[in-house]
Symmetry: C2
Amino acid sequence: MVDLNSVDARSGASTALDRGPSSHEEVSTLAQQAETGFRWLSEQSRGARADLLNDLATALEDNQQEIINTADRETAIGVDRLRGELTRTVGQLRFFGRVILDGAYLDVSIEHENTSLPLRTPDLRRWNVPLGPVAIFGSSNFPPAFSAPGGDSASALAAGCPVVVKAHGSHLATTRLVERLFRQVLEEANAPPGVFQVVYGREAGILLVEQPEITAIGFTGSVSSGLALAERAASRPTPIPFYGELGSVNPVVVLPSAAAVRGESIGRDFATSVTIQAGQMCTKPGVLLVPVGPEGDALVAAAAEGLEKFAPAHLLNSRTRDSFVHGIRDVLSDPRVKQVFPPASESADQVAAVLAVVDAAELTGVHHSAVLEEHFGPFAVVARYRDLSDVLSVLRTLPPALTGAVHFEDEDDDGRVIAKELIRRSGRIIYNGFPTGVMVGWGMTHGGQFPATTSDFTSVGANAINRLLRPVTLQDAPAALSPLELRDDQTMIPRRINGVLHTESRTK
Amino acid sequence: MVDLNSVDARSGASTALDRGPSSHEEVSTLAQQAETGFRWLSEQSRGARADLLNDLATALEDNQQEIINTADRETAIGVDRLRGELTRTVGQLRFFGRVILDGAYLDVSIEHENTSLPLRTPDLRRWNVPLGPVAIFGSSNFPPAFSAPGGDSASALAAGCPVVVKAHGSHLATTRLVERLFRQVLEEANAPPGVFQVVYGREAGILLVEQPEITAIGFTGSVSSGLALAERAASRPTPIPFYGELGSVNPVVVLPSAAAVRGESIGRDFATSVTIQAGQMCTKPGVLLVPVGPEGDALVAAAAEGLEKFAPAHLLNSRTRDSFVHGIRDVLSDPRVKQVFPPASESADQVAAVLAVVDAAELTGVHHSAVLEEHFGPFAVVARYRDLSDVLSVLRTLPPALTGAVHFEDEDDDGRVIAKELIRRSGRIIYNGFPTGVMVGWGMTHGGQFPATTSDFTSVGANAINRLLRPVTLQDAPAALSPLELRDDQTMIPRRINGVLHTESRTK
């Protein structure tokens, strides 16, 4: 029984995958194998895990053309963008190798026993250990970077957690290819297959969340699917953490000081940011707050002009296109929408860019309007405001987002006021710039207050590993039974010893 | 309408509190004031927050006799133990002052912009910011250390989060006193009252969880109350994290190598650990695994002898006593219980220590037996085992706990096997010791897999502050708008700069 298809995003042509959905039994077997994978990973040094990450990276690199072509056929993202994304994914795997070699993520703290006090205090050695097998639900819009070989997998394997990926239905062949490549790397490393596995089919994903061996979920997708899985994760006999990146309408505030000096260039850059990857980015700027008046008008005109230049494009799949078309129809039927640039075009299977203009004051306190929802695709709202209190009201009406941006001139103190408000709601604040483009590095935060993410964490950058670790303290452990990183003679990683943090560790 | 009473734990005599339960309106007002407190705290430097923590500590110290006497009357814990607990609470507030001055908790990472690449990478500055107002539900058994002025409050205020405590019904007068003392300190510091507040009454606690201003919950208490509140926290329009320390049956494994060499002293120390504070400790050793045979017999005899010496004691309150008496009755009616030391005594209001002996093999896979549940009071189970697989089976049958302990001789490799199993389930592993006694310091972990705690964290020690922080990255922020800790010229705290961790920060 084969009922899984790889679909060409442009032509709609469907090819049967070389396998069907994972059965209940298969999911349960994979979860048990993940447990075996966990034991194997626990026996590997950090160096060996970094080598494995590098080998996985090299396998992607060596087969990049096939991956890119397959992903392009399944998603219509385009080979150039996909090449960039693959490079990022390769770099991300290697970066996490460096993160674990650095060792700060272990957060080691050693307190030697103290027998000079009336009551002896024990020897305490604290560090972070991996949670266990992790289930990963990737996104539709980044077939490598936020999917099977993406940030969740890289941070999990770095932590020492085996991975079971639920293959995303919109790029099954790409995932199947990655699975094959990674399995080969594992074989060559004499690693058990349970270190990295994939399940196929919607039902298998749900079953996966319920397997007792699974200890955490990484999810990137819609609010509705995310919350449904989160509820399952929470209602297991043993609840497990659910790290979901859900929806994000990213606000960009342009203060009058910036509109006056560089309104048109802000408008142009905004149009570019909205239409990157046909607007199918979780960091797409969704609402642009622009002052009323001629300088704001010029900014909006420049943005509209930029959007007009966007060549109609195929979206990721027919479901994404349908919900975009319906969503925009809902937006445009809202009486609050005053203007539309350019007039909405509805070709059979490609979509044009759309900009809807509203009055900021009319958004305050509004809930359940399509205008304030995320629409995956080349669309944004411009909200024209009269004063700062209008802006603050809109920001407080919008659900918290992954990012917030503010444009202002240096001497303008309102920039500080807006940034302060944005910081309360988002994990990344952009000053005089746009939110698209999320660097993989030590300093990145990709997360925000609910519903941007289900709780406060980052799913991108070094600290993404923190989600998959838990703290353990060994009390009076014999040195011979302590992991290397907790021994007095270890000198390679940052450690806190008797309360003092050393980047080059010292012994007693 | 006064219907809140402070009850003498020994005599049962009841005194009306000088106030009634908090009304719906009062809870909502306090939550709004907490928001004002949050804004005030956000404007204070780390140094100012540390000063505030020190002032709160001093207020407790200066009024220790009154606090200890009030708490002793309400809990029957005894003035000596309460004096120790107060000293710990005072030290804990000051310790968190040092934690924030140290600054590592901010986890600062600075990546300077790079314009030498084809695509410029932005300037990224990451740190941790406080969540916002926190609701705290303290425990019955530590009126200062895990209640109004305890670890949850100390770590929250250190993080910059205002606190609203739900007063525990079993030490209302103690909480009222702490509230008065802390309010005075806040007044003297010109802080708004919203920085530290208290609500009274069961219903007020539930309302508190639902206030939109509250951003996290700290809870120490029973599994049933904890899960009920956790569900409310999760089903708010904006779900918030619930950090619950629930129940813990702490296993102590004695391997034959240790039983042979020092069985009797292990037995004696076990009896002491079980009866500290009349066994009303979340770290009380609940199950002792002892090998069958004469050496194990001697160990058990020594433990029984130690428990016999325990003078019957008042428990914290009549509810605790009733559930202890009923719980032990359930245990003793279980046919698996082979022996009881000493025979259960049931005086009207004081309880004696009880030890029930079972066969380890009969516990494997057993669920819902009183034998495997936590019983708050001077009680423990001894499980006699035949071989290592018996031990592993019992450990896997028991719910995960805060701690796990193993006694063995150095050359005994089974110690490693048991420790490995314990590490998968608990946050603190004790080698050749007992779990009671939780040091407040940099290296402590007080938490474990569910249901020991609701998720993996520590509620004691420096890292308890992590629960109340969230990551934020500022992208291309003008230096003038950056917090001091993120500026290039800052040199006082550990920071990662362009990927390298410096304990003394460097500039570009």
